[in-house]
């Protein structure tokens, strides 16, 4: 029986992870951490005299709240032995403001959480969710990448992607830790019910038109949020540490993905994209980075290692559905 702490449980993927783990008979107590008030979906989990789930509000990007959390009586009483870190991620399709406060916070959270997990003797496992956009992409509309593929250390990389790479490397450094098992799951674009899309740096932020390079339309690998939660569950119970790619079998081009999620992309020539990038930087925004490989090249993930060692295989399908207003959108469906 494992007692699990889940970070960012108030965000969509974190909520899904908490729901999945709550129904797992091998999981005992659940300590959900979030920045906002507890989601309404947790109401029935929190009901009762001695609920298995406890919800705590904390800002994980700052040292003091994290330190207080890990030394609190609640943390000790819950006897947490496993930490599931779901990093901050992109906004929902119809959110008025992006959920992401800033990419620097994501890196700070990863560092602080890992440090406190290492200091807490009772924590034996850390499962962290990472992004598959950390890979360096070879030229091509879609290339297969496995866990051994190089990371993208190009200075031209998008700031959003840079923060994922930083988080990835922070956890990577502790993969061979003898005392604590560290598992890093790299996921591509996550599709949730209702056509919401997360963790794609090119579609992060509020709805609106994005720019992409003319003549390129990279393929985006997809995975359902339920499968992400199942992968976390599988990693929780597996004895293996390491890095695993997690993905479904569906993929769509960036142009269609953007159109179906309220973020249509406008193809523009490289020179115009570079000019727009410079202009955006002048006004203090992150530009589109004309040379960023993710705007040109796509990828699919080799998930055989996760199948072999974690016993995980995607079982949710992602397809097109017509919404109530008649528009087409992505939807997930269970087998």
């Amino acid at each position: 029986m494992r007692n699990v702490l889940v970070t960012h449980a108030d965000e969509p993927i974190g909520r899904r992870v908490v729901k999945t783990l709550f129904h797992d008979p091998d999981v005992g107590r659940l300590l959900a951490i979030g920045e906002g008030p507890p989601p309404r979906a947790f109401d029935r989990f929190l009901a009762g005299a001695e609920p298995r789930l406890a919800y705590v509000r904390a800002d994980l990007a700052r040292h003091r709240p994290v330190s207080v959390l890990f030394h609190s009586p609640g943390f000790r009483e819950a006897e947490i032995d496993t930490v599931v870190h779901v990093p901050r991620h992109g906004a929902a399709a119809d959110a008025h403001a992006p959920i992401v406060a800033g990419v620097a916070e994501r890196t700070a959270e990863a560092r602080l959480l890992l440090q406190h997990c290492l200091e807490a003797n009772e924590v034996r496992s850390l499962v962290a969710l990472g992004s598959a956009f950390v890979y360096r992409l070879p030229p091509g509309n879609a290339n297969r990448l496995d866990e051994q593929s190089e990371l993208d250390l190009d200075p031209d990389v998008l700031p959003e992607t840079r923060s994922w790479i930083d988080c990835d490397m922070i956890f990577h450094g502790e993969l061979h830790n003898d005392r604590m098992r560290v598992v890093l799951l790299r996921v591509p674009t996550v599709v949730a019910e209702g056509g919401f899309v997360y963790l794609n740096p090119l579609l992060a932020g509020p709805p609106g038109v994005r720019l992409r390079r003319l003549g390129f339309d990279p393929i985006c690998a997809l995975v359902s949020d339920k499968d992400v939660a199942r992968a976390v569950q599988a990693a929780l119970h597996s004895p293996h540490p390491g890095i695993y790619n997690v993905a479904g079998c569906e993929a769509v081009p960036l142009s269609l993905l953007g159109r179906w999620t309220g973020r249509p992309s406008l193809p523009v020539p490289r020179a115009l994209l570079a000019a727009a990038d410079r202009a955006a930087q002048l006004f203090g925004h992150d530009g589109a980075r004309a040379n960023a490989s993710h705007l040109r090249f796509g990828f699919t993930l080799d998930t055989r290692r996760a199948e072999r060692e974690l016993g995980f295989r995607a079982t949710n399908r992602i397809g097109l559905a017509r919404a109530g207003d008649g528009s087409l959108r992505l939807e997930t469906a269970s087998l």
């Binding site: 091509g140 509309n141 879609a142 290339n143 297969r144 993929a251 399908r317 469906a333």
Partner: protein, 379 residues
């Protein structure tokens, strides 16, 4: 004499039929190699008849026919639609099992019933509920592009082909062909020919150079019609998926060879042999005649090509004199011949891929088989 590049380990021996052939030169270690008992044993094994015929892979599941973008369904119904289990290997049903798709616009009117059935089979290669496979293949784009290439196949290049009985009906397999011509119409004609003459209809997934992956529009079109960039991971994934893979192991050397070397197969890269052994896939040698005549290269302006960042800059009777139009192929007659499958995986198994000498030797054997096919059919 061409300098032998031991790092890329192209070819050891001269092309058959020519003593000290002009293009490949002599391997300085040839005598050492011939005296090696290891190589002698390989020679015996290679000459011996195959122990048994290749056994086709068993199919686990076949997805329902789909010819175009899936019809949108209400969001509430998505959960109720029974979804097939994820397939283990890509497979297409036989021609008789494919339902004739409805005629959709002018494109379908240009094609016969059988051709429409064959194109409909492509949709079975897509594993998932979105209309794209993981490498970007879109059956809908393929359906729209097919009439153009079919017209080129029938009326422009007037392709004649033989040896279709050697095309594996299912399971992973490699088609290894010679490469020529400025633009890769040889690959396009081979894809059309395989699709038109195989039952179940099979799509040959061509492995293309990485350079093409960075070209605007070209990279997208290639992916949508089923071509894949030549990385090890892509290659092994296609074969693991049970697909038919078309490779041109000569690479760019085949495309840029001058007119004096036409129909002389250049040195082979070796990766395809490793992949075939690991995936237990038979290798079918293919001779494509006509591609070397479609745009005879008189010279290659290497300094200018380097300056422009191009792999080569050819001078042909029409290029650059006619501008981009000069790149178009001449209406030469194509002939495609499929040779008997080489089942090296049955003798050496996946562990053979770890032996660099064996891989190099087998690549040379395949190269020789392609050259023999060309020489036999040129006359």
């Amino acid at each position: 004499m061409k300098e032998l590049d031991l790092a890329t380990a192209d070819v050891w021996e001269d092309a058959p039929g020519g003593e000290g052939g002009p293009l490949l030169g002599r391997d300085p270690f040839a005598d050492v190699v011939e005296a090696d008992p290891f190589v002698a044993r390989l020679e015996q094994l290679a000459l011996a008849p195959p122990a048994r015929a290749p056994r086709p892979a068993r199919l686990h599941a076949v997805a329902p026919a789909r010819t175009s973008l899936p019809a949108p369904v209400p969001a509430r119904e998505v959960r109720r639609v029974p979804t097939p289990l994820r397939r283990r290997r890509a497979a297409t049903p036989s021609l008789a099992e494919i339902d004739l798709p409805e005629v959709q616009g002018l494109v379908d009117r240009l094609l016969g019933e059988e051709d429409r059935r064959r194109i409909a089979a492509i949709a079975h290669l897509v594993d998932g509920d979105t209309p794209f496979d993981r490498f970007g293949l879109s059956p809908e784009v393929f359906r729209q592009a097919f009439p153009i290439f079919h017209a080129l196949y029938r009326w422009y290049f007037r392709v004649a082909s033989s040896g279709h009985e050697h095309l594996p009906a299912e399971g992973p397999a490699l088609l290894v062909a010679n490469h020529g011509g400025l633009l890769p119409f040889d690959g396009a004609m081979a894809i059309v020919d395989v699709l038109l003459h195989s039952d179940p209809p099979r799509l040959a997934r061509t492995i293309v150079d990485r350079w093409a992956g960075g070209l605007p529009w070209v990279n997208v079109f290639y992916a949508r019609v089923g071509q894949v960039i030549g990385t090890r991971e892509n290659f092994s994934d296609l074969l693991d998926d049970g697909q038919l893979v078309l490779v041109f192991p000569e690479g760019m050397d085949g495309v840029r060879k001058p007119i004096t070397q036409r129909y002389r197969v250049q040195g082979f890269h070796l990766g395809f042999v490793e992949q075939a052994l690991r995936a237990r896939a038979p290798i079918v040698p293919v001779a494509i005649l006509g591609s070397d005549d479609q745009a005879p290269i008189l010279a290659d302006v290497k300094p200018l090509a380097k300056l422009l960042g191009l792999p080569f800059l050819p001078v042909t009777p029409t290029f650059p004199w006619l501008g981009p139009l000069g790149l178009l192929p001449y209406p030469v007659r194509y002939r495609i011949v499929y040779g008997e499958p080489l089942c090296y995986h049955e003798r050496f198994g996946p562990e053979g891929a770890e032996d660099a000498r064996l891989v190099r030797y087998l690549a040379n054997q395949v190269r020789r088989a392609v050259q023999v096919l060309i020489d036999r059919n040129r006359s």
